[in-house]
Symmetry: C2
């Protein structure tokens, strides 16, 4: 269990592969100077254009396994046959520095993170329907046909758990969905328990 | 205790008299077709321009007392020597109809309402400092000098309780404060527990 009192907070974005999370997260980061991306570790192969240390830390299974043994991950999971993990040290350093951190994490990972950091906010990004998800996965052209079928199968399992998370947004319109995500982050920063320093300061002037 | 499952939700705005709540609330209502004002009952005299049934139900102390006896109020309180109350029947009818309801309520009233409706969201609107509050109360020209002193004294007591509420916003800039309030309402509507019907609908298409 991590402290509840870091000056920064953790925002977890969950949802099926192909729901548009990457595009939404990049836009959030670009337009919000107080928000940083948490870079996960993975054993999957980099896709075209992905950069080590920026999109992911691409590591082999041996290194990943040794990190598990050293308890270096806040959460880790095997998804579509690949290992993904969130490094404890990286996130804690960001939160302690007062940065808000955005993580793209799977259903199990989000539930584990929430157990360890109660203030963390989870947002499920749902595609409007399966046909939209299939179309996006096919248009993306990054996955083979059998991988797309596996992702669609997995998506249904994730959708069945969508109400386990704090917020639910639907990506039927990218601009609206972006505004929804931005409102969730903006509102969370206005929570009283996150503004104790401000409250003390205000009281001093009364 | 009221049900948690009304299709509408209750937003409570709390803060010192003169913090700018009325202006903010009117703007929220004007720009949000799903949000209605809850009209409170009061025994205080109408100010210039205030309309019975729109700003308040202006009633005499005898009628107010009989409503208390009939348990007609969700909460009521005496503030600055006047009685204010929130009628149970009015709010429940609005929430059942799926309307989101905005109430301007005092510290004690907000805490009582939260006990009766756990989903209610409370937002404290703080002035940036006492001098700003005094200037606004004087510029408003609605209160005598002794009433202004009483309001300032009361304001400090309210400010000491500001972290008891879900959200804290500061009205040092009206436009920014309005955007903060609007983000809190927008984000709250995206909470999973408020979107169960949407979630079922989404699952049907998977």
């Amino acid at each position: 269990m991590l402290s509840f009192t870091y000056p920064g907070n953790l925002y977890m974005v969950i949802g099926p592969s192909g729901a548009g999370k990457s595009t939404l997260l990049k836009r959030l980061i670009a337009q919000d100077e107080h928000l940083s991306f948490s870079v996960s570790h993975t054993t999957r192969a980099p896709r075209a254009g992905e950069v080590h240390g920026k999109d992911y830390y691409f590591v082999d299974r041996d290194l990943f396994r040794s990190m598990i043994d050293e308890d270096a991950f806040l959460e880790w999971a095997e998804v579509h046959g690949n290992l993904y993990g969130t490094s404890k040290a990286h996130i804690v350093a960001q939160l302690e520095a007062g940065e808000d951190v955005l993580v793209d994490v799977d259903v199990q990972g989000a539930l584990l993170l929430k157990e360890q950091l109660a203030s963390a906010v989870s947002i499920f990004v749902a595609p409007p329907h399966a046909a939209a998800l299939r179309a996006r996965l096919e248009a993306r052209g990054k996955d083979a046909a059998d991988v797309i079928e596996r992702r669609l199968l997995n998506a249904r399992g994730e959708m069945q758990q969508m109400t386990k998370f704090d917020y639910l947004v639907v990506n039927d319109d990218l601009d609206r969905c972006y505004r929804d995500l931005a409102a969730v982050v903006a509102a969370d920063r206005l929570r009283s328990f996150r503004r104790r320093a401000l409250a003390s300061d205000l009281l001093e002037h009364f």
